[in-house]
């Protein structure tokens, strides 16, 4: 129990991460995959931020008060930039999904594979 009590936060984050992971690999719908990727990504952020936390500490904004325990600012910086970069790359993903739908009329990957295989067969015949 004492060991579990020390790392409970990390275990919960791992559970969350695996829900995202499952969504990415099990679901065929591309928008669903992107949502799963967002969940995965956010739980990685939580893992980082959890590591920077100090018990009874405070946010890393220096004050004159006697408070000396500040949370580690380094993971905060890494994750802050990662969030903005994450939304920018997610936008690229959505843009590609829109183009796939415009070209093939579906965003389900099994249907997409069928269409592409059919096109390849046509190409082989001709």
């Amino acid at each position: 129990m004492s060991m579990l009590a020390g790392q409970w936060n990390y275990f919960l984050v791992i559970a969350l991460m695996m829900i995202g992971f499952y969504t990415v690999i099990a679901r065929g719908n591309m928008v669903k995959k992107m949502v799963g990727l967002t969940i995965f990504q956010t739980s990685v952020f939580m893992l980082y931020i959890s590591m920077g936390k100090i018990a009874n500490g405070t946010a890393p904004i220096l004050t004159d008060a006697a408070q000396k325990a500040y949370a580690n600012p380094l993971p905060h910086v890494l994750i802050l930039t990662a969030i903005v970069v994450g939304v920018a790359t997610t936008a690229v993903g959505y843009a590609l999904i829109i183009r796939v739908y415009e070209s093939y009329g579906t965003i389900e990957d099994d249907e997409l594979i069928k269409i592409i295989e059919a096109e390849e067969d046509e190409g082989a015949d001709a």
């Binding site: 946010a59 904004i61 802050l80 930039t81 969030i83 903005v84 920018a88 936008a91 959505y94 843009a95 829109i98 415009e102």
Partner: protein, 168 residues
């Protein structure tokens, strides 16, 4: 939604407030939570709200796409050139100590410039993303209309000259 007076009036009050808050977050980032990334996103949210409520065309009118692209590049350039400036003054790239009279003043100036560059880039990138996605809808609608017209025209042409493409 565009004709609802409540939404229009609330938006007119909200949009300047959101922009002012974004500027506060941008320039107060040294002392409290905030900085270029957050301010950029909040500033972009004001433009997105404007475009959603008053229509895409008016949104474009307020902030033209060409200007927006320039702003995307200007932000990155401002960041990079701040580093070059400190290099020209005899320090390492992105070491702001030499930008001001004292190292601390230099750091203040450097951080202000760099954060402004980040904010400019993020704000204009988010606006560009929104307008590109939303513009695709109108684009597709236009294409559908053109396709329908093409089909009508083809049908008319097919009636007049039914055997046009015999050798292919």
């Amino acid at each position: 939604m565009q004709d609802d007076p409540v939404i229009r009036v609330v938006a007119k009050v909200m949009i300047p407030t959101v922009m002012l808050f974004a500027l506060y977050v941008q320039f107060h980032g040294d002392y409290g939570p905030g900085g270029g990334f957050q301010a950029g996103v909040i500033f972009a949210a004001a433009f997105v709200l404007n475009a959603m409520i008053f229509g895409l065309n008016r949104g474009r009118h307020v902030w033209p796409a060409n200007l927006n692209l320039l702003a995307v590049c200007a932000g990155v350039l401002l960041y990079g050139l701040t580093g070059v400036a400190s290099m020209l003054l005899g320090e390492n790239y992105l070491d702001y100590d030499v930008l001001g009279a004292t190292p601390q003043a230099g750091q203040h100036i450097g951080i202000l410039l760099v954060e402004f560059g980040v904010g400019l880039t993020v704000a204009s990138v988010m606006v560009a993303l929104f307008f590109t996605f939303a513009g695709r809808m109108t684009h597709n609608r236009l294409l559908d209309r053109m396709e329908a017209q093409d089909k009508d025209a083809k049908r008319g042409a097919a009636k007049q000259a039914p055997k046009k493409r015999s050798r292919t």
